[in-house]
C-alpha cells in the first residue's frame, strides 16, 4: 500500500544523506559514518569535491552580498542542508540586520538541526518542504509569516537542482517559484555539470554512480540545460559562468582558484 501523502517519511540514519555528506566535505562533524563512507567513496573519483563545495559556499556568499547591494533583503534558500558556517542569514544579516531568511529542506535531520541553530533568531526560519512540490513551499505558513512575497525575494537554489531528476519536473517547479516572486526578485543558482570538471567524464562519472547508489542520483546537466532554469529572468553580469568566475573578489583570487572549483555553473537572474 502506498504511504499517504500526509504521513511523514521515517528517519533512517543508516542511509547516507547528501546534506550531511556536504557538511563532511566542508570539514564539519555533523555527519555519521555512513555519510563519511559515501563521501570518501565519491572523493575517490573526484578528490577535489570539497573544493567544489567550498566554491559553492563562496559563490553563495558573494551572491547574497550582491543581492543586499541591490536592495533585496529577503532570502528563500531551498535545499539549505546542514547549517555549518557562513550561512545565508549570517552573511545577509551582517550586511543588513533587517534581512530575513527562510530556509527550506526536506531532510528531517537537517530541518531539526537548523531549528536548533536558528533558535532565537527572529528573522530566520526553517521549513520542512520539498522543492519538487513548490506549492507546499509557497503556501508554507512559516515562510509566509517571515517573507513578504509581494516584495523582491532572492531565491537560492544552490547545489540542489542537480538532485532533482527530470521525471520530477525540475523546470516546472522552478518556473512555478519564479512566477510566484515579485518583480525585482533574484534567482541564485548553482548546478553540477560535466563541463568544467578537470577530469575525463568517465572518471567523474564514478561520483555520479556513488550518488545513484545512495538513491540520491546526481543529475549532470549541460550549460544550455541549466540556463533554461532562468527562463524569463534577465541574467546579471557575468551571466551563467563557472562558480569562481562569478564576480570574483579580485583577479589575483581568481588566479589562485583550485581547478575543481570550475566544476558546474553559477548564475544570478533578475525578474524584470
Amino acid at each position: 500500500m502506498e504511504r499517504p501523502a500526509w504521513a511523514p517519511q521515517g528517519i533512517d540514519i543508516s542511509v547516507p544523506s547528501v546534506s550531511r555528506m556536504y557538511d563532511f566535505y566542508l570539514g564539519g562533524s555533523h555527519n555519521f559514518e555512513v555519510d563519511r563512507e559515501a563521501a570518501r567513496k565519491a572523493m575517490e573519483f573526484m578528490p577535489g569535491l570539497p573544493k567544489v563545495m567550498q566554491a559553492n559556499r563562496a559563490f553563495m556568499r558573494r551572491a547574497v552580498h550582491h543581492a543586499t547591494t541591490l536592495g533585496v533583503n529577503q532570502f528563500l534558500d531551498i535545499g539549505s542542508g546542514i547549517p555549518t558556517f557562513g550561512n545565508v542569514h549570517e552573511v545577509a544579516q551582517a550586511a543588513d540586520p533587517e534581512a530575513r531568511v527562510a530556509y527550506v529542506d526536506h531532510d528531517p535531520v537537517a530541518v531539526a538541526h537548523s531549528q536548533a541553530v536558528l533558535e532565537g533568531n527572529e528573522r530566520a526560519v526553517i521549513a520542512a518542504a520539498d522543492l519538487r512540490k513548490p506549492k507546499d513551499i509557497l503556501d508554507n505558513p512559516e515562510v509566509n509569516a517571515l517573507l513578504d512575497l509581494d516584495r523582491p525575494v532572492a531565491l537560492l537554489l544552490v547545489a540542489v537542482l542537480h538532485f532533482i531528476e527530470d521525471a520530477d519536473g525540475p523546470y516546472a517547479a522552478v518556473a512555478e517559484l519564479r512566477d510566484a516572486l515579485a518583480p525585482g526578485s533574484l534567482l541564485v543558482l548553482t548546478h553540477a555539470s560535466y563541463e568544467g570538471i578537470p577530469l575525463p567524464q568517465e572518471e567523474a562519472g564514478g561520483t555520479v554512480d556513488v550518488y545513484r547508489t545512495i538513491r540520491n542520483p546526481l543529475i549532470m546537466r549541460t550549460r544550455k540545460e541549466i540556463s533554461r532554469f532562468f527562463e524569463g529572468y534577465e541574467m546579471i553580469d557575468p551571466g551563467l559562468v563557472a562558480m569562481p568566475e562569478w564576480r570574483p573578489e579580485s583577479a589575483e583570487a581568481l588566479a589562485q582558484e583550485d581547478p575543481f572549483t570550475y566544476s558546474g555553473f553559477a548564475g544570478v537572474g533578475r525578474k524584470a
Partner: protein
C-alpha cells in the same frame, strides 16, 4: 611553498616597520593554510581574520615573562575560523617555525637572543598544536552531539507524526459507521471495530470465535465463497456482495460486504479487509415496499402485478410443464354494492378472498385479486388438465355457502373462465384475454358455472373485441368510406337514386360490411358521429351529382338511420343543418329506418320523423316483411316508401315465379299504393325478377341485376348512360 615577494597588507603600515612585518607574516600564513580550509571567506578576508591571531603569536614571543598559553588560544582560534583540516595545523606549525622569529623577532620591547627566540617559538608551536587539537576535539564532539540530537529530534517528530497518523487511522477504524474487520488468510479474525460488533449483536467474542469461512448462511449467493477462495489465494484483489449473517441471537443481519486483499510490501497476500454495511433495515423496507406493491390492500391477496409475474413464469417454456387459470367474476356484485353499500361490498370481497385462498393451497397454486370483483386462481405443474377443473369446482363449492353480512345471508355466485395449456405457447396477455372471454361466456350462459376456453369462440370474441376498440380511432383516421348502389325506376329503367352503404377499410381485416361493425357502433354509441359523417358525406355526394346531372330529373340519396340515431335528440337539427349547408333540397333525401326500430314506437319517437317528413324528407321503411309487419301500424307512420326485403323476391328469380310469392308481393304493393306509399324492392338479381316486379307495379328496384354497390363515380357513369 613559495614566499611572496610582495606580500599584501594594510596600506597604512610601513612595509618595513613592525606592523608591516606582522602583516607579511599573516599573509604568508594565510596563503599557506587557505587551500586546506573550508571557509567561505575570501582570501583577503581570511587574512584579516588571521591578523589578530598573528599579533597574539608575536606578543607571546616577546612576553617579558614568557607564557605560551596565548598560543593555545591561537590554535583554538584556527578551529573557530573553520580550519578544521589537520593540514591546516601542520601548515601553520611550518609557517610559525619558519617565519615567526624572522618577521616578528625584533618587534618587541624585549631583546631576545636567537637561542631564546627559537626556544620560545618551539614552545609556542607546542601550545598552538595543543590548543588546536583541544578545540577541534571539542568542536567535533559538539557537532557530533548536535547532529545526533537533531537526528533524534527528527526521529521523534517523525514518530509523533506517525503516531498522529495511526491515531487518525485508529479513529477511522473505531468510529466508522461501517463495520470493519481484518483477518488473516486462514480466516482468523484479528481485529474488528465496535460497529461490526454491534452489527453482529454486541458480543465481540461471538464474532472473533468464528473464522471468516465459517460465516455461511443458507441465503448466501452461490459465488460468494468462490470469490472468497480466489481472494485468499491472491487471485482476486476485492469483491463486493450482498451477504447475510447470523447475529448471536439467531436473527439475520443483511450486509453489503466488500472484501479487499491486503498485500505486504513485497506484494505477497497478507490479510483480508472486510467492510460491512448493515442493510437489514433497508432490506426489510424494500421487502415491505415490494409486498405493498405486489399485494392488494383490501384482501391481502397478491395483486395484478404479482399475478402477472407468476403467470409469466408459469408460461415460460419448460418441458412437460402446464398451467391452468381460473378467471372468476362474481355474479351480481354490483347489485350488492349498490344496495348494501361499498363497506359491505368490501367485506364480502374479503370473505370471498379468504375462501378462494383456502381453495388454492397446494404448491404451484396461487390466488390473486385483479381488481373489483375479479379474482384469478393459477395452478402450475405437469397435470393441470385435471387439476384446473378440480380447482374451478372447489371455487364454486367454496362460494356456495352463503356469506353472513350484517345479520343477513348473501348468496354469492360467480362465473369462471378456465384456460389450460402447455407452457411456452402463449403470452400472459393472451391467456388472460382468453380467460376473460371465456368467463363472459359462462356468465352469458347464466352464471354460477365455469366454462372452458375454446379457440373458435375466442377468435370470434377477439375480433369483435378488437373491432370495438378500433372503432373510435377508425373514424378519426378516415378508415370509413361509402359505396353507392343505384335505385332504378322499374317503369323506364332509369337511375332514380342511390343508397349510401358505409364500409370500413380495416388495416388488418380489410373491407368490412356494415353488418360487422354497425351493431358494435350502436353498442358503443359511436353510431352517432359515424351516422352523421355518413349523412354529410352522402348529401355532399348527392349535391355533386345534382350539379353534374341537371337534365336527368330528380335524383335521390337514401341514407340508413340506426335505432340509436333515431333516438338521438339532435337528429332533426343535424339533418336540417347538413341539408342547409350542402344546399340539397330535402326532397332529394330519403332516410331509411328498419321496421324493427319502429315496432311499438310511440308518438315521442315518431315526432322527429314526422318533422323531417313535413320538411319534405322521404322516410323509407327498410327491410319490410322481416319483422312483425304490422300493416295496421303503417297508417300511423310518417313513411312514404316501403322497401321490401329480399326474401320476398327470391322466389321470382326464375321463370315461372313462385305463385305464392307473387300473390304476397302483389298484395303488399296494392296495399302500399292504397296508402300512398311507393314500393322499392331489394335484391333484384335477374331480368325475370325485374320484369315480374315491374308487372306487379313496384316502383323502384335495386340489386346486383342493375349494379353492385360501388364508388360514386360508377353511379355517375350510370347516370350518363341513362342520359344517352
Amino acid at each position: 611553498m613559495s614566499i611572496p615577494s610582495q606580500p599584501s597588507g594594510a596600506p597604512d603600515a610601513e612595509p618595513d616597520g613592525p606592523e608591516g612585518r606582522l602583516r607579511r607574516f599573516a599573509t604568508i600564513w594565510s596563503r599557506a593554510i587557505f587551500p586546506s580550509t573550508a571557509t567561505s571567506l575570501t582570501r583577503p578576508e581570511f587574512e584579516e581574520h588571521l591578523l589578530p591571531l598573528a599579533r597574539e603569536l608575536s606578543d607571546t614571543l616577546h612576553g617579558r615573562v614568557f607564557d605560551a598559553a596565548p598560543a593555545h588560544r591561537v590554535g583554538a582560534g584556527l578551529v573557530a575560523a573553520h580550519c578544521t583540516d589537520p593540514d591546516a595545523l601542520s601548515s601553520t606549525l611550518g609557517v610559525v617555525d619558519s617565519y615567526l622569529v624572522l618577521y616578528c623577532g625584533g618587534n618587541g620591547p624585549v631583546e631576545l637572543s636567537t637561542e631564546d627566540s627559537r626556544a620560545r617559538c618551539a614552545r609556542i608551536q607546542h601550545a598552538l598544536a595543543g590548543g588546536f587539537t583541544q578545540a577541534l576535539r571539542e568542536r567535533t564532539l559538539a557537532e557530533q552531539e548536535a547532529i545526533a540530537r537533531s537526528a533524534l529530534t527528527a526521529r521523534s517528530h517523525a514518530e509523533q507524526a506517525l503516531h498522529a497518523t495511526e491515531a487518525r487511522f485508529r479513529a477511522v477504524f473505531k468510529d466508522a459507521a461501517v463495520g470493519i474487520g481484518i483477518a488473516d488468510l486462514d480466516g482468523n479474525i484479528l481485529e474488528i471495530n465496535d460497529t461490526l460488533t454491534r452489527m453482529f449483536g454486541g458480543l465481540e467474542n461471538h464474532v472473533r470465535s468464528h473464522k471468516v469461512n465459517e460465516w455461511v448462511h443458507p441465503e448466501d449467493s452461490p459465488h460468494v465463497w468462490k470469490y472468497y477462495e480466489e481472494l485468499v489465494r491472491g487471485e482476486r484483489e476485492h469483491y463486493s456482495v450482498e451477504k447475510p449473517y447470523y447475529r448471536n441471537d439467531g436473527t439475520v443481519l443483511w450486509t453489503n460486504l466488500t472484501v479487499s486483499l491486503l498485500r505486504d510490501p513485497e506484494g505477497r497476500p497478507e490479510y483480508q479487509l472486510a467492510l460491512l454495511e448493515d442493510t437489514t433495515e433497508r432490506r426489510l423496507l424494500n421487502l415491505r415496499l415490494r409486498y405493498e406493491a405486489t399485494h392488494d390492500a383490501l384482501t391481502g391477496l397478491p395483486n395484478r402485478t404479482l399475478f402477472f409475474e407468476r403467470l409469466e413464469k408459469a408460461l415460460a417454456p419448460r418441458e412437460g410443464m402446464r398451467f391452468g387459470l381460473c378467471y372468476l367474476d362474481l355474479d351480481g356484485f354490483k347489485a350488492i354494492n349498490d344496495s348494501l353499500g361499498h363497506a359491505a361490498g368490501d367485506r364480502l370481497l374479503v370473505e370471498v378472498a379468504d375462501r378462494l385462498q383456502s381453495c388454492a393451497t397446494a404448491p404451484g397454486e396461487m390466488v390473486a385479486r385483479l381488481g373489483g370483483d375479479e379474482f384469478v386462481a393459477l395452478t402450475t405443474g405437469p397435470r393441470t388438465e385435471d387439476e384446473v377443473h378440480e380447482l374451478a369446482g372447489r371455487i364454486l363449492l367454496a362460494l356456495a355457502t352463503p356469506v353472513r353480512l350484517d345479520g343477513r345471508e348473501l348468496t354469492v355466485r360467480g362465473s369462471i373462465g378456465v384456460v389450460e395449456g402447455p407452457s411456452g405457447e402463449r403470452t400472459p396477455a393472451e391467456v388472460l384475454r382468453s380467460a376473460d372471454i371465456t368467463m363472459y361466456r359462462a356468465k352469458a350462459a347464466g352464471g354460477n358455472r365455469f366454462a372452458l376456453a375454446d379457440a373458435e369462440a375466442d377468435a370470434r370474441a377477439i375480433t369483435r373485441h378488437g373491432l370495438t376498440t378500433a372503432l373510435p380511432t377508425a373514424l378519426d383516421r378516415g378508415e370509413f368510406f361509402i359505396e353507392y348502389q343505384p335505385l332504378v325506376h322499374l317503369g323506364d329503367g332509369s337511375v332514380h337514386g342511390a343508397e349510401a352503404l358505409v364500409r370500413w377499410c380495416h388495416p388488418q381485416h380489410g373491407v368490412l360490411g356494415p353488418d360487422r361493425f354497425i351493431p358494435l357502433a350502436e353498442h358503443t354509441g359511436l353510431i352517432v358521429p359515424l351516422g352523421r359523417w355518413v349523412l354529410e358525406e352522402s348529401v355532399r355526394q348527392a349535391n355533386f351529382w345534382k350539379e353534374r346531372h341537371t337534365d336527368g330529373g330528380p335524383l335521390r340519396i337514401n341514407v340508413n338511420l340506426s335505432p340509436t340515431q333515431l333516438h338521438h335528440p339532435s337528429l332533426v337539427a343535424e339533418t336540417v343543418d347538413v341539408l342547409e349547408r350542402s344546399g340539397l333540397e330535402p326532397g332529394a333525401l330519403c332516410l331509411e329506418v328498419t321496421e324493427s326500430a319502429l315496432i311499438g314506437a310511440d308518438d315521442d319517437l315518431l315526432k322527429p320523423l314526422r318533422q323531417l317528413a313535413e320538411m319534405g324528407v322521404d322516410i323509407a321503411l327498410d327491410d319490410f316483411g322481416t319483422g312483425y309487419s304490422n300493416l295496421a301500424n303503417l297508417r300511423r307512420l310518417p313513411v312514404s316508401v316501403l322497401k321490401l326485403d329480399r326474401s320476398f323476391t327470391q322466389g321470382m328469380q326464375h321463370h315461372p315465379a313462385d305463385p305464392v310469392d307473387l300473390k304476397i308481393v302483389e298484395g303488399i304493393v296494392s296495399l302500399a299504393h292504397s296508402l300512398d306509399l311507393a314500393v322499392t324492392v331489394e335484391g333484384v338479381e335477374t331480368g325475370a325478377q325485374a320484369e315480374q316486379l315491374r308487372q306487379i307495379g313496384c316502383d323502384t328496384a335495386q340489386g346486383w341485376y342493375y349494379a353492385r354497390p360501388g364508388a360514386p363515380d360508377r353511379i355517375h357513369s350510370l347516370l350518363l348512360a341513362d342520359a344517352v
